[in-house]
């Protein structure tokens, strides 16, 4: 009987656990979300805290487990940089959400909308007349020396009429209980997708409380923003895409996730080309227009021609397309400039000039040390000041090594430093953040927190996401917030006193149902699918080969010598060291498959991804301990089963359109190449005894051979079954038939009955195999055929994948 059952069986009132609440004390001088100034639990939190106190330890573990399991199953990751290495980490969910009262949130939202307007009009000035500098409101150097002020964008009016469409603010509660802006995020704010995934996970942990309390939903925000993106297209046939820096970016997972969730394409710079002032996506069906681009790439990387020439992830001509009004970019190139930390020193004074009113929510007190009065202010009270680069962005405590305590320098050194580098420095008041309850080892303790709030510009103006994510410190020190250093992220619940509308992402259009045409497949995605197919098939071939070798090692011992002599050159041609149980070459091929899959994560179901990741993890684990012989043979069989699992998921679930065709062509191509090579080596007159049986085993056709032929293997039966028989799914002929069928379905396969180069070469290969006999398909002919099949890959690449 577990403890939950005991609780229930005990009858009477359920056991309430205190969970540390009695000892919960807000930190001195710091407001707390859970406990009000009067020392009492805020009413808002009662249902959630009550629920947590009513759960047994096991139930609580299970509730948290449901949330963590959801994140794991969905593959919610972010990338962490550690000692020069970048690794994927699961999303660090702090299970208790942060609860905020709707009335508080409404005030906060209005203030942030005003701030978004301030930044928008600041953008318009910095990329327009530069009135603020001319009138002396802003020092020239903050603009001209700012790496995010992109000169080629000066004078380029955004087609949409707006510079900013999607922004985020980092906010915290100060000692007086009021909210402060800690940082502006306008370049390419991340986290909205994580916020939504955090919501799903948290609501799984506390589904009863979530349903019982009126928590505002997030889906409406995304739906409206998606509709806005679509509506900003001037060409209705054109598409909307998210521009990603690629899989090595720390939030690539989120970018792929958003693309899937919003139903838009995920593209990299090299996928795009500028043509006659328009942005075009390279697809297997030719160039297709992209009219709205949600940029998740830092501005200066976007165009090597007019911005950073060293960028290898940009699109030459992007600036030109923007200058010609050929697309709308979210946010416009150069929007990173208004994130500049030193601007926070000026925004309070600029706001009245820009929007005619003072800031409704202050930002952390900031002094730009380029001014004599500011330097004096810092020298007068260094105790509460943090120094950081004036042109830096983001939260000062996120950039360790970039910041230092002013007081730590000593008065003399500080004066010297400010005198020498003043213009390059800002001083900011050290933040003291409010605390929110976090569960640590089953006890509720106060931890510092900040919120990231997202705003999207929609047809009806700025809309604030009714939630977001909170960053929770790992310790009481506010600098422990940074996720890179053990902080966690919590869901944010905006709790209303009345019912909240339920919203679904999938709005039902009016009128009769029409099936949508599938979107064009980007060439790079097709290339990765093709190679994923090839690598997965190669892994399978390698595993079968190694298993056969290890079985022979066990069964025949020394007598296996001649067979190993036949097998090992094949293994070595795949870069494998046959003496290793799980050779490094196998791990490398698997890694290549994962790399290809990682490039097209937006096209992958989480199940498919998990299956592949599991395969990789298993193989790596095995590689550390598996020894050649029986041990290896069994391990390899286990890998083969996992591979079949992945193939099954792909085959059963993948939409039968262009993407699937390239994946299939990849698999069949690799299989045809491998089988041609195997037959040339093992069905040759010079091959050792048993080589024909090995061939049949590697071709997974032992049973078929037994059933089709009453005799043992001969060169004729083996060649017939593994090369010529169209009914055998392992034969060369079967691969070529399959490839032919797919190639015929590709765009431009034939023009007015004239075959493409690929189609012609394909047909020749297929015809050749179809007209051979076991007698005529000699080793020499097999070798020549292999060369012709190899060329098919080049032709396919030339026609579709570049």
């Amino acid at each position: 009987m577990d403890r939950t059952a005991q609780d229930k069986a005990g009858g009477g009132a359920p056991v309430r656990r205190d969970r540390g609440l009695a000892g919960y004390r807000p930190l001195p001088g710091v407001p707390d979300e859970l406990i009000g100034p009067d020392g009492a639990l805020r009413p808002l939190w009662r249902p959630l805290i009550g629920h947590v106190q009513g759960l047994s330890d096991d139930d609580l573990t299970r509730a948290f487990g449901r949330a963590d399991q959801y994140l794991r199953d969905s593959g919610v990751f972010y990338r962490q940089y550690d000692a020069g290495q970048s690794v994927e980490r699961p999303w660090p969910l702090a299970h208790l959400p942060v609860l905020i009262d709707e009335a508080d949130w409404t005030r906060l939202s209005a203030a942030l909308i005003q701030r978004a307007d301030v930044l928008e009009s600041l953008m318009a000035d910095l990329y327009g007349p530069n009135r603020l500098v001319a009138e002396g409101h802003l020092p020239a150097a903050l603009v001209t020396e700012n790496p995010e002020w992109l000169r080629p964008m000066v004078g380029v009016r955004p087609r949409s009429g707006h510079y900013l469409h999607f922004v985020a603010f980092e906010i915290g509660r100060g000692p007086d209980g009021n909210w402060w802006v800690l940082a502006d995020r306008t370049q390419a704010p991340s986290g909205a997708g994580y916020a939504l995934e955090g919501r799903v996970a948290t609501s799984r942990a506390f589904s009863d409380v979530f349903e019982g309390q009126n928590v505002h939903r997030l889906a409406g925000f995304f739906r409206d923003f998606r509709d806005t993106l679509l509506a900003m297209r001037e060409d209705r046939e054109a598409s909307v895409a998210i521009l990603t820096p690629g899989p090595l970016n720390e939030t690539y997972y989120e970018q792929a996730w958003l693309a899937r969730y919003l139903g838009v394409a995920l593209v990299q710079g090299e996928d795009l080309v500028v043509e006659k002032g328009h942005l075009m996506l390279r697809t297997v069906s030719g160039l297709r227009p992209v009219d709205v681009l949600w940029r998740r790439l830092d501005g200066s990387f976007a165009d090597p021609l007019e911005l950073d020439p060293a960028s290898r992830i940009g699109t030459p001509g992007m600036v030109s397309a923007l200058r010609q009004g050929g697309l709308t970019m979210v946010n416009s190139l150069g929007s990173g400039v208004v994130e500049t930390r030193a601007l926070m020193a000026f925004l309070p004074k600029l706001a009245p000039h820009l929007v005619g009113a003072p800031l409704a929510m202050p930002n952390i007190a900031t002094w730009w040390c380029g001014g004599a009065a500011e330097r004096a202010a810092v020298l007068a009270d260094p105790g509460r000041m943090v120094l950081s680069p004036a042109l830096g962005t983001g939260l000062p405590y996120d950039r360790q090594g970039e910041t230092e305590l002013a007081a730590g320098l000593g008065a003399g050194k500080l004066a010297q430093r400010l005198g020498r580098d003043g213009a390059a420095l800002v001083a900011q008041e050290a933040v003291t953040l409010s605390t929110t309850p976090a569960l640590v080892d089953g006890r509720i303790v106060p931890r510092p927190m900040s919120l990231r709030v997202f705003l999207a510009r929609t047809a009806s103006g700025w809309q604030v996401m009714q939630g977001g994510f909170a960053r929770i410190g790992a310790a009481a020190d506010p600098s422990a917030l940074a996720m890179q250093r053990g902080g966690a992220a919590a869901d944010v619940w905006i709790v209303s006193g009345s019912d909240v509308p339920a919203i679904s992402m999938l709005a039902q259009p009016a009128g009769p149902y029409r099936r949508m045409a599938p979107g064009a497949l980007p060439s790079r995605a097709a290339d990765n699918l093709f190679w994923l197919g090839r690598y997965v098939e190669r892994v399978e071939g390698i595993v079968r080969l190694l298993r056969a070798r290890n079985i022979r090692l066990v069964e025949s011992g020394r007598a296996a010598g001649p067979m190993l002599k036949a097998i090992d050159p094949i293994a070595e041609s795949y870069g494998l060291d046959p003496a290793q149980g799980i050779p490094d070459g196998l791990i490398d091929t698997l890694a290549a498959a994962i790399a290809s899959a990682g490039q097209i994560r937006d096209r992958f179901s989480p199940d498919g991804w998990s299956a592949l990741a599991d395969l990789d993890k298993t193989a790596r684990r095995m590689a550390t301990r598996v020894t050649p012989g029986d041990d290896a043979a069994r391990a390899l069989s286990a890998l083969l089963r996992k591979l079949a699992g992945f193939s099954g998921l792909v085959n059963e679930n993948m939409y039968r359109f262009l993407g699937w065709r390239f994946l299939t062509i990849g698999r069949q191509h690799e299989r045809a190449m491998a089988m041609t090579g195997l037959l040339a080596a093992l069905a040759d007159a010079g091959a050792p005894a048993g080589a024909l049986d090995l061939c049949v085993e590697l071709g997974d056709s032992v049973l078929t051979h037994r059933r089709r032929f009453t005799m043992g293997t001969s060169r004729e039966t083996v060649i017939d079954l593994l090369a010529l028989d169209p009914m055998n799914p392992r034969s060369i002929r079967h691969q070529l038939d399959g490839m032919m069928a797919q190639v015929n379905m590709l765009p431009g396969a034939s023009e007015y009955g004239q075959l493409s180069d690929l189609g012609r070469a394909m047909l020749r290969c297929q015809t050749e195999v179809a007209t051979e006999t076991p007698e005529t398909l000699t080793t020499e002919v097999l070798d020549a055929l292999r060369g012709r099949i190899a060329v098919l890959s080049d032709l396919l690449t030339g026609a579709y994948l570049r």
């Binding site: 500098v133 001319a134 002396g136 020239a140 150097a141 001209t144 020396e145 950073d308 030459p316 030109s320």
Partner: protein, 294 residues
């Protein structure tokens, strides 16, 4: 006033047909009131580009933007222009002390293309260079005004460096060229820009053309009839910008035809994109500047 017929020819041969590509050309002579007038110009590209347009960049340089079709095996560009250029008049030195520039800059609120503010800080190709900074400090010790400092540094650099077309390439850093004590006009100009900035004098990199007119009994100027580069230094609000050519240790005058200016070579490179003006692509170019009889 001198009237010139300018002809620039650029030729590329490609060993393998190249894919489609986008290129920027900054080769058209500038229109500078009182100094230089572009009377007419035409640029012919063969084969014809798939797209061709023109825009003016942030610093006011005219840029020809072309998209070339795929499958190119050769490319020819010919610019023919008629340019009028003013003779250099000896000017009164109206520039302040170097130390007084900072205060003038602090009050300078314009950040338009010709604002000195763009040219104070290190730039992508001209980072801070300690060796150049101490060289500049030593060379300008006796200078009383900004103009004197500019000339002193220019002359010192000209003495220190040897013109050598083989010593450096287009991507050689100015620090490296300075250490080699060799280079071409691009190196001379970028080193001098770096030196001036280290002294607190805003300095721009100017790209253009140079005509050579060998004076009687004297050798031809180095880099005869060529693409050229020199320096534009800000000598305070009153004196404004002054042009100096460190490769030839002279003020830029009637023999210099400017195309544009920027923070360093990268802002005014004659060819930007897949193609470059040197190295890998077997490119060649020639410049002819002939004084025409008005």
């Amino acid at each position: 006033m001198t009237l010139y017929a300018l002809r620039l020819a650029i030729h590329y041969d490609f060993a393998r047909p190249t894919g489609a590509g986008r290129q920027l050309f900054r080769i058209l002579p500038a229109e500078t009131p009182g100094v230089q007038r572009l009377i007419q110009s035409r640029v012919i590209l063969a084969p014809a580009p798939a797209e061709r347009l023109e825009f003016t960049d942030f610093f006011g340089t005219r840029v020809i933007e072309v998209a070339m079709p795929p499958g190119l095996t050769r490319l020819d560009l010919v610019l023919e222009a008629e340019v009028e250029r003013a003779r250099a008049e000896p000017e009164l030195d109206m520039s302040p002390r170097v130390a007084a520039l900072a205060a003038e800059l602090a009050d300078w609120r314009d950040i338009g293309p010709a604002s000195p503010h763009h040219f104070r800080a290190p730039s992508r190709r001209i980072p801070p260079m300690a060796a150049v900074a101490s060289f500049a400090a030593a060379a300008t010790r006796g200078a009383r005004t900004v103009q004197e400092a500019v000339i002193a540094l220019g002359e010192a650099l000209h003495d220190h460096m040897t013109f050598d077309a083989k010593a450096t390439e287009v991507d050689t850093s100015p620090a490296h060229a300075f250490a080699l004590r060799r280079g071409v006009c691009q190196d001379f100009a970028q080193i001098m820009v770096g030196g001036l900035r280290s002294l607190g004098i805003p300095a721009a990199y100017v790209a253009g053309y140079l005509r050579t007119r060998p004076p009687p009994g004297k050798p031809r100027l180095v880099g005869a009839d060529a693409m050229h580069a020199w320096v534009r230094a800000w000598a305070g609000a009153k004196a404004g910008w002054i042009d100096y050519d460190p490769t030839n240790a002279c003020r830029a005058g009637a023999d210099h035809i400017d195309v544009g200016f920027g923070r360093d070579y990268g802002d005014v490179a004659p060819v930007t994109g897949m193609l470059r003006l040197d190295g890998s692509q077997a490119g060649s170019h020639s410049v002819d500047i002939v004084e025409s009889v008005g």
